[in-house]
Structures are given as C-alpha cells and as structure tokens.
C-alpha cells in the first residue's frame, strides 16, 4: 500500500516537474519519504540484479553503454538517466518506469552511482556487479583528496555480491581490485599502442607513498587500438571493431567495460556482432557531444566537469578553430583546475564567456594568450549574442560548459526533458 502511494504521488509530482522543466530528484525524494524501501522493493528482485557504475569520469557514458550492450542481447534493462546518480535521482527514475503497483518490467538494472553514494546505496540494494571507470582528480571542494575517493570506490566495489569489472589502465583501480577478496574481479586492459596515442584518455589521479603491486587481475576485454572514433577490442580472444559514441580512448575504455559486463553476465552466449552494431547507433549522452539545434543554428555541447574530462573533451573536439562559447558558474565551486589544462586546442580566440565564473575563466584565457571577444555573465544574454553571431557567421558553434550551466542553457533553449536529454 505504501509502495503504491509512493509511486502514485511520485508520478504526479514528476509530471508537474517535467512541465516546468526541472528538479529531477524531487519526485524520488518525496516518494522515498512515503516508502523508504522504494528502491529495495522495486529493484530488489530483478533476474540479473543491479549493476552499479561508479568512478570520477565516464559514469553516464558507461552506464548508457552497459545498458545498450545488454539490450542488444535481448535483456530488458532499467537505467537511471544521466546525472541522476544519487538515491533520490534513482528513485525518480524508478517512479517514471514502474507500474503503479511498483513493478519494473526489467531483467537487470544499470545504475550510474555517485562516488560517495555507492556505500550509501549498497545496504539497500546490494549490487551484483560493480563497474569502476577511473579515479581522477574531481570535485576537490567536495571530496578534498583523491585518497578519500579511493576508499569510497573500494567500499562500493566490496559490496558487489558477484563481480567487479574495472579499468585496468588506472593504477588506483588496480590497487582496489587487488585488495578485494570476496568478488570475482576482472579488468579491461589497454594496449601500450592505444595508451601512447591517447594519454589524455587515461589520467589516473596520483597517489603517493603506496607501493604498487603487480597487476595480476584477470583480463576480460582488451582495448587494442582506437582510431578516429573506431575501437578495436578483444573479448575472450575474439577481435571486434566498434564505432564509438565519440573520438577518444576514454570512449573505447567505457565500451570495453560494457562488453566486460555483458561477458560476465552472458558468458559464451554474448553476441559481439549485435553488441557492436547496437553501440554504433547509440546516441551520445547529452553534454558529451550532443548537437543542439536552436533558432536555425547548431551548437555542439561539450561538458567540462574536472581536469580529466576537460582534457579529454578538448582533445576529441572536432574543429579546434570553431567558434567557442564557454559557460561556467558557481556549480564549479573551485575552478582552480582550469589553470592546469593546456588550452592550445581552443585556438586564439573565444567568442563569449558566460556564467558567474565568466571573469574567472576570462582571466585564465588571457594567461593562455587567448583573446576573449565578449564577457556576458548572464546566460540568456550570452545565448542571444552567440546565436546572432552564429547566424551572421553561418558556422556551427561549440559550447564548453559545466554541468549546471549546461542544464540552465538547455532550459533556455526550450529542452524541457532534462532527464532523458531529448
């Protein structure tokens, strides 16, 4: 009865919230006040259990790729939308898809889980498999030091009832894998050739004073190569070529992690060809290269959350000489890291810098010798200015933005469905 009420109230609030275009965590928060066991009751009895995807970067993309790969194998997959990776956000997603009786029509759930919430969620819904993407420098204002994130990810991995799949090119994750005793741990290996080409695709946060043990974790999938957005992977000795959602080694590693999960669940019946075909038609998660069409112009939206994601984004950016708009606000509480990034790919000029951090970012650009045409802290004014510039210029634009400004600007452009990114 409580579950019914929770889902009903949640669904009503959700439809109101979606009309207004915001607040994806609110329905979940309220439903979980009515039924604190919402997640256990809806996700607790799926055939292949619940998969957690965690790490500093690539969570959303990897979650989408795991879901896409498992769907291609005929499994019914429930997943939380990009960014909604804390308990209430997951609750909101469950409410969106569950029947009024709280039943989810799914064989497996693939959940993007915030680094700090793996250990919070695990007592409620024990994951069958935990996927770790990487441990990079991220949100130091919140996590303080990479060493703390290491402990969080280790805790999350240790809660897996069955298996842990990790990115073996990140030495921190290898250490976590070697520490685990109760799980079947396997890794995605990245070939030296691929690493040499894309050092930006694999930037482990440095940890000091630790002796590195030998990486003896069994290899499940190998990333042999990445060339212009096409990866060559090797799964159990079989090579397969995959068209990635974008250029860059990070996309190849994320895809390899997805294949490693499918290999873990399906074993010999994992059909590589259909998985590869499904990935090649998969759309980019928004903020990772999505092209927004607005008032007759096209704006590619690229997100910069932290140094690693920004480096990877800049390296994979299509046209370095494109007309760039940079937006950042206090959703990035400490933007110091923007001074650690090589901005050569941006070129010599940025059209507009906006958001409350506009002046801060403009200072950074001046030290890199990049001219700033216009500083407009107000997003609405910046959008209008940028669109009129693109209209005169006839070129496609590129928006480099933090998460909060991406949401605000998408809303200004009239994209109300913030959950699914359509």
């Amino acid at each position: 009865m409580r579950l019914f009420l929770a889902v009903l109230v949640g669904k009503v609030i959700r439809s109101i919230a979606r009309l207004r275009g915001g607040g994806s965590a609110i329905p979940g928060r309220i439903a979980m006040i009515i039924e604190p066991k919402l997640l256990q009751k809806t996700l607790g009895s799926l055939k292949h259990g619940v998969i957690f995807v965690s790490g500093s970067n690539g969570k959303s993309t990897t979650t989408a790729l795991v879901a896409g790969t498992l769907s291609s194998q005929g499994l019914k997959v429930f997943s939380n939308p990009s960014g909604g990776n804390m308990p209430q956000g997951i609750g909101s997603a469950v409410i969106g898809q569950a029947s009024l009786l709280g039943k989810l029509d799914a064989d497996v759930a693939v959940l993007e889980v915030d680094e700090a919430y793996g250990e919070v969620l695990a007592p409620f819904i024990a994951p069958s498999i935990v996927v770790l993407t990487n441990l990079q420098i991220d949100q130091l204002n919140r996590f303080f030091e990479p060493d703390r994130v290491y402990q969080m990810l280790r805790q999350a991995a240790a809660s897996a009832t069955r298996a842990v799949v990790l990115n073996g090119s990140d030495a921190n994750l290898v250490d976590i894998g070697l520490e685990l005793t109760g799980q079947n741990v396997s890794q995605v290996e990245v070939s030296k050739k691929a690493l040499a080409k894309w050092p930006e695709g694999a930037l482990a946060a440095p940890r000091f004073g630790k002796d590195r043990a030998d990486n003896s974790i069994p290899i499940s999938v190998t990333v042999s190569d990445e060339l212009e957005g096409i990866a060559t992977l090797e799964v159990a000795g079989k090579p397969i070529s995959v068209q990635l959602p974008g250029k860059g080694l990070h996309f190849a590693i994320d895809t390899a992690l997805a294949f490693a999960v499918a290999d873990q669940i399906l074993g010999e019946s994992f059909d590589l060809e259909s998985a590869s075909a499904a990935i090649s038609t998969q759309q980019t998660v928004y903020g990772r290269g999505e092209i927004a069409k607005y008032q007759g112009v096209e704006i590619q939206i690229l997100m910069m959350k932290n140094p690693s994601s920004m480096r990877a984004t800049l390296v994979a950016m299509d046209d370095p000489e494109t007309n760039i708009w940079i937006a950042m606000d206090e959703g990035t509480p400490d933007p110091s890291w923007i001074f650690d990034i090589d901005l050569t790919r941006i070129g010599k000029q940025v059209r507009i810098v906006s958001g409350s951090r506009a002046w801060h970012f403009a200072t950074r650009l001046s030290y890199a010798g990049i001219a700033v045409d216009s500083v407009a802290p107000d997003s609405k004014q910046a959008l209008a200015e940028y669109v009129s510039f693109l209209k005169q210029n006839g070129k496609r634009g590129t928006l480099l933005t933090n998460y909060e400004q991406m949401m605000a600007i998408r809303k200004l452009m009239g994209f109300l469905d913030l959950e699914s990114g359509k």
Binding site: F208, Y367, G369
Partner: protein, 247 residues
C-alpha cells in the same frame, strides 16, 4: 637577465591549479620583457643552483609526506638559499612542509623543512569555501579555501591577508568572522587560497616579483597591455565573488 625559478615537487604538490601560479609569474615577467626559466626539484635529479626564486604548491597529505621525505636530505641547501634572501612562495601543503613541524591528527609530529616561521596542526575538520578579504595594502583578495590544518605563525611573521569571509589560517574557525590568512616574513610569502591565487590576485604576484627583482638586481615594471586585460578580468572576478558572498 634570465630569472631562474625553482619549482619544488610539481608532481607531488600540483593539485589545485598550481601550474597556473607559476605560469602567472613567468607570463608576467615575459609581458614585462624579462626572460625566465623553471628548474624542477622532485628528488629525481640534483638540487638546482643559482636560483632567483622558489615556488612550492599545494597537494594531498600523502603527496606532501612523500615530498617531505625526499626533501629532508636536501633541506640545508634550501635553507641556505633562503638565508641569502631568495624569495620563497609556498601555498597549501607546500607551506606546511616548509614550516617547522606538522602535527598529525593521531598526535605524531613530522619535522618540517624549517624554512617558514610557522607550524601546522592537522585537524579532522575540513574547511572548504570561497573566501574574500584584503591584503596589507587594502587590495581586495579572493580565493578558495580547501584545507584541514590550523596554521600557527611564529615571531617575525605576520598574516598576508585579512579575510572577511571564508577560512584562513584556522580550518576550524567561524567562516563568517574576520580571520588571518597566509604569512609574510622578509623574503617569505605563504597562503592557502586556491584560485589559483596569483592570476586572480595579480597584486600578490607583482609583490612577489618585485621582491625577486630587488634581490636579483633587475627592474620589474608591469605596464603591458596584456597584463592590463588579464588584471581587468581578474579584478571583476574578485568583485563578483565579494558581491556574491556579501549578499
């Protein structure tokens, strides 16, 4: 004249935009028509000689502890540089390891390099917030505090900035009260604000560069158009932060 900077432990202590601080010094010199060169010491090579200024940045406690161990056998060389009057700028945990000692939360005491007249007492609490205040000349100074140690200044040292909001030398004080941040003492300057500190607060960068110029006997005057553009942006960034925190 080529100004030779010594950057201590760029890898171990390079977390909060630290490249930006050194780039700022190098770039401002270049804008003023002065060449510079950065030497690195991280234990892998010998300790560089003929140094005009020393810079050390912030990082994690694990990184700082590793750096301190590596530095220990060479600290006399660093100390003799400092005694000859070479300016040193230390930020965050870099400042802590160049102090007299670090008291850890379990009570253990690490011997610091002894360059700065200060010591740190690590706290379990973490301070993480935007800050603003004024330096000794009354110039608006801003940054981001992210630390867990109380800094004690010894005789001969005075604070660099008086904060009106945020966390200064104490990680456990009330963020709304006035507090002292950083340290100045003859040729030494230290702070714990990120931003990075120098590009966002060019008055501090120039103060440090003027000390370097005086010691090494060259003239530093910042009149370039590039600096005026960058400093104009930085001034507006500081003003925006102050307005927002004052609301």
């Amino acid at each position: 004249m080529t100004v030779r900077f010594l950057h201590l432990f760029p890898k171990q202590l390079g977390l909060n935009g630290e490249t930006g601080n050194l780039d700022c010094l190098v770039q401002r010199l270049s804008w003023a028509g002065i060449d510079s060169q950065v030497e690195v010491f991280d234990g892998s090579g010998s300790f560089p000689e003929q140094i005009d200024a020393v810079f050390i940045g912030s990082g994690t406690l694990a990184g700082a502890t590793a750096a301190l161990e590596t530095l220990a056998p060479h600290s006399s060389k660093l100390l003799s540089l400092v005694e000859t009057g070479v300016p040193v700028l230390a930020l965050g945990l870099g400042w802590e390891i160049l102090g007299k000692s670090i008291t850890l939360t379990d009570g253990r005491v690490l011997q610091g390099a002894g360059v700065f007249p200060s010591r740190s007492i690590r706290t379990k609490e973490r301070a993480s917030a935007e800050c603003f205040g004024f330096d000794q000349a009354g110039t608006l100074t801003t940054g981001y505090a992210n630390h867990s140690a109380n800094m004690e200044l010894f005789e001969g040292a005075s604070p660099l900035i008086e904060l009106r909001a945020g966390y200064g030398n104490s990680s456990t004080a009330d963020a709304k009260q006035r507090s002292d941040e950083g340290l100045v003492s003859s040729n030494l300057m230290a702070a714990r604000l990120n931003g990075p500190l120098l590009p966002l607060n060019p008055h501090l960068a120039d103060r440090f560069l003027e000390a370097v110029a005086k010691k090494s006997g060259f003239e530093y005057r910042q009149e370039s158009k590039a600096a005026s553009t960058a400093d104009g942006f930085a001034s507006k960034a500081r003003e925006e932060l102050k307005q927002r925190l004052s609301r």
